[in-house]
Structures are given as C-alpha cells and as structure tokens.
C-alpha cells in the first residue's frame, strides 16, 4: 500500500511544560484509517498539529502524498483535511458561508463547492440550519460543520482530532460512514481519539501514545488478542462503594469506575467472576447489572501502562 503519510522520528516539545511528542514515526497508506489512542496530554493533538503544519517539529520529518511537510507546507496543506479538537467558526457568518469559505480556500470551484456542500449538509443533518449564523449552533452542530469543512475538498489525508466527541448517535454514524467512504476512495485517515469503541470500529491500525511516545502499533484485533486470558468485568451499581477490597481479589489487576459502572480488569481463572462479585457485595455494592466482556483496546492500554485511558477513571 503506497504511503499517503510518512512521518519519521517526530519530536516536538512545548518549551514551558516539556510535554509534546518524542521520536514518533508512523506511516499511513492510501485508504487506510489509522487510530491514535492515548489519554489527555499523551501527545495526540500535538502530533496532529505537527502533521497539519501548524507546528514545526523540533526534529524529524514527514511527507504527505510525497510533499515535504517542512519545505512544501502550502502543498501539504492543500492535501490535508483537518478537524481540530476545538473547532471555531466565524460566528456572524452562516454555517453554509463558513463551509463555502473553506471549500474555496482549498481551491474548489464554486459550482462543485455548492454541490458537495449541499450533499454534506444533508448527510450531517445540517441542511435545515445551513443559513443560520454559526454562533447559534450547538457544540455538536459546530463539530459537524467542522467535519464538513474538513472533508468537502476530498483531501488525500484526513486528520481528525476527537471527531465524534459531542456528536449525537445519528451524526456519529453519518461521520463514520463518510470517513469509510473517503478511505474507500483512497484517502488516508489519522483519527486521534480516546473513544476506544469508535477506534476499534473504524481503524485498520492503531497506535498507542503515552507521555508523548508511541508505545505499540498494530491492528485492533492483533492488539486485543495479545490480551488472551484477560477478562473485563463490568458491574453497574445502584450505589457508590469504596471498592478497594475488590482490588485485593486474587487475579484482579485493576479496578476503575466509569460513571455508575465498576470496571474490573483481571486475569482469567476458575471462580474469578464469583470472587469479584463477592468482593463487590462485601464492599457494600448493590449490583444492578453484571457483564463479562472480552478485552478491548482500553484494556490493552491499561495492560501496557497501568494507567487509565480516560480521565474519569480512577
């Protein structure tokens, strides 16, 4: 598969905090959807900023469609579709005017821009609000508008930073369908997210970033299958509990809360589920629902780092 994006040894550290990315290399082929997964502050957005030419790296190089990311920045920008993590628009212009402005800035002909935007506004259920001022849009509508701006010109490489955050379910499906469609047409996609379900569903390959470094890379199936013997027990509780005793059950590696759920990562063994349930009950937990799930990418990250992927976890 010819590479749309090739990045070699990218290092970019912020002067004040020292955070950023260190020595990251990756390649994304034509039509490939590549997931960047990591908790907040892991360097996902920084890496996307470098790849979008917003930040010059301290060292390393990258090319997009053969154009050098450092020496041919305007050429690279023309080949990219970008959705930043906090999209902004000209609030006093309509959503349509914003999208039209960006489409033309990317060199689309007026007629083509009108046709493509009409289709995209329909696809993302924004047609009804197309001529409303962008400042009247909700957060989710703003994200959809940013997605439209990112994909309208048919980029060779799509860089998406937390694209589905704030989208309603229907829009998430529309966005996933559009991303698959673009990849099917040959665009490479880099998707930075810590929504593991979305990444598993969409991505052909995934890389984990942790403290600015790339930990591991592979297909979601390969990464998850490396956790053979690991179980994920999710208990929905009616009441919050002090769950420390659950962590002392033999085989339990980590206990975390996700909203009302208590998530227990553990090594499989006979009688394990019964012991975990006993531990929860002993801690005073009133279990409303219990499920034993196959491990997912989140478990891979926990296994690799011993840390949670999302900040709402303990």
């Amino acid at each position: 598969m010819p590479a749309t994006l090739e990045a070699k040894n990218i290092t970019c550290l912020y002067k004040g905090s020292g955070r950023g990315v260190t020595d990251v290399s990756l390649a994304v082929g034509r039509g490939e959807i590549f997931g960047l997964v990591g908790p907040n502050g892991s360097g996902k957005s920084t890496l996307l900023r470098v790849l979008s030419t917003a930040l010059a790296p301290d060292s390393g190089s990258f090319s997009i469609g053969g154009a050098d990311g450092l020496a041919e920045r305007r050429e690279v920008r023309a080949r990219i579709g970008l959705m930043v993590d906090r999209p902004t628009h000209y609030g006093d212009l309509s959503g349509w005017a914003n999208a039209f402005f960006f489409a033309r800035a990317y060199g689309m002909e007026e007629e083509k821009a009108n046709g493509t935007l009409a289709e995209l506004f329909d696809c993302f259920a924004l047609a009804e609000y197309a001529h409303d001022k962008a400042k009247t849009y909700s957060y989710g509508m703003g994200k959809k508008l940013a997605l439209i701006e990112a994909v309208a010109h048919g980029p060779e490489l799509l860089l998406l930073d937390e694209p589905s955050l704030g989208l309603d379910y229907t829009s998430q499906l529309a966005y996933q369908r559009k991303v698959r469609e673009l990849a099917g047409a040959g665009a490479g996609v880099v998707l930075a997210s810590n929504q593991v379900d979305e990444v598993e569903a969409l991505c052909d390959r995934v890389a984990f970033l942790h403290k600015g470094r790339m930990l591991v890379e592979g297909t979601p199936e390969k990464l998850v299958s490396s956790l053979r013997g690991v179980k994920r027990i999710v208990a929905t509780l009616r009441n919050p509990v002090e769950y420390a005793p659950v962590g002392e059950v033999a085989g339990v590696e980590r206990v975390a809360t996700e909203g009302r759920n208590l998530v227990v990562h553990c090594e499989d063994r006979p009688g394990l589920v019964a012991d975990v349930v006993a531990g929860i009950v002993e801690a005073g937990g009133d279990i409303a629902e219990l499920s034993v799930r196959r491990p997912n990418l989140e478990d891979v990250f926990v296994k690799l780092t011993g840390e949670a992927l999302r900040s709402d976890e303990a």
Partner: protein, 240 residues
C-alpha cells in the same frame, strides 16, 4: 443586506462588516458625529485638522488590531492559516479590506468637511488621499501590534505607546514646525501629510505641496505594507 457566501478572505470581512446592521450604523455615524461638529465650529484650523487626523489614526489602528486579535483568540485565524492560502496574501487582504472599510466610514465625514470648507479640487484629492494613507499606516501598526498580543486591551496599550511619538512627530498638537532630526522624522510619517493637507482644507497654509502629499506617503506606506506582510507567518502561527 444579503450577500453571496464569501469565497475569499476579504469578502468574508466585507460580509461581516455589512452583516451586522446595528454595528454598521454606529461605524458609519461615529466619524460624522465627531468630525461634523468640529468642522462646523469655529475652532482653530490646526485643531480641527488634528481631530480629523486622530479619528483616522484611531479608526485604522484599533480596527485592524481589534478584529485581528479577536480572530486570533478564537483560533479561527490559525485554522484559516492551515488552508493552502498564502499567509502573505491573507495578511495583505486583512490590511487592504480594513483600510477600505475604514475609508468608507470616514468618507461621508470628509465630504461634509469639504462642503463646509471649500478648497481647490487638487487639495480635496490630496487631503482625501492623505487620509487614506493615514489609514494604511494606522492599519499596518494595528496588524504589527497583533503580532505581539492576542488581547484587544493590549492593542490599546501598545497602540498608545507607538502612536504617541508618531502623533507628536506629525505636529498634530505640538512640534508643528520641527527642526533637524524631528523634521527629517516627520517627512517619513504619513500622518504628517494628512495633518498638513487637512490644515490647508481648514484654511491654514503649510509648506507641503499636493504633489508631496501624494508621493511621500505612498512610498512610506508601500514599505510599511511590505514589512507588515512579511510578518504573516508569525502573525498567523498558533499562539501556545
């Protein structure tokens, strides 16, 4: 007013300018509200000219500076900078459209001044051009300031620091007949030519000719525009 969706940066600014009706009315009225009473009064010509000049300087400097810092704060300008548009072109368009829009705001007030203080056509043209050049220089200063801050409040502070010596050198209130180094410095400040041309309109005689009013500010403004456009990569870069 219904406009077609913008397909260029300058058209976006024009759409925004005409899109906010109340703000548009205020923008068009305030130069009239300040300048017309001054022009209609009997205050000395040098002060009347100074008021018109100061209004032009302030409109130019704060107009570009404020709208730029606002866009920088929003992050929208950094996003626009990541399109294939040339950053130099973006900054040139920001500058050009702000100058033209500021000029449109001042033009009705200038016409009233010319109506109340009739002068020869050549001085009308010279004064109008000198005010335009003042707006170019002032907008250049506003854009330059936006390189160093993304706070509209800071724009005010920095603008005051930069404009005060330039206004002094231009002889708006003091230093009307400079000597030596100050006289040389004055020759390079476009505001000075606007001041002299407006003084002539209001009935004073200065040593500046209409030809000088057309030539020297043009040269200075061309240099300023080039220098300010060269700051584009820095101006449009992400502020972290």
């Amino acid at each position: 007013m219904r406009l077609n969706p913008p397909d260029a940066y300058w058209k976006k600014d024009v759409a925004l300018f005409f899109g906010k009706r109340f703000a548009l009315v205020i923008k068009m009225i305030y130069p009239l509200a300040i300048i017309v009473p001054v022009a209609a009064s009997g205050i000395p010509a040098r002060y009347a000219a100074a008021v018109v000049g100061i209004v032009a300087i302030m409109a130019g400097t704060f107009g570009a500076g404020e709208s730029l810092t606002s866009d920088l704060n929003d992050g929208i300008l950094a996003r626009v900078a990541l399109t294939p548009l040339s950053p130099y072109r973006i900054v040139f368009e920001i500058l050009a459209v702000n100058v033209v829009l500021d000029f449109l705001q001042l033009l009705p007030a200038l016409f009233v001044v010319y109506f109340l203080h009739p002068v020869s056509l050549v001085w009308v043209c010279a004064a109008t051009f000198a005010v335009f050049a003042t707006l170019v220089a002032a907008n250049c200063i506003g854009v330059f300031i936006a390189n160093f801050t993304s706070s509209p409040a800071d724009v005010l502070l920095y603008a005051t620091a930069i404009l005060s010596p330039l206004i002094y050198a231009s002889g708006f209130f003091r230093n009307a007949n400079p000597m030596g180094g100050l006289a040389t410095l004055r020759d390079f400040v476009p505001f000075a030519y606007a001041n002299d041309a407006l003084k002539t309109v209001f009935g004073l005689t200065t040593g500046t000719t209409p030809l000088e009013t057309f030539i020297y500010p043009t040269i200075t403004c061309a240099v300023l525009v080039v220098l300010v456009c060269l700051t584009a990569p820095r101006l449009l870069s992400q502020r972290l």
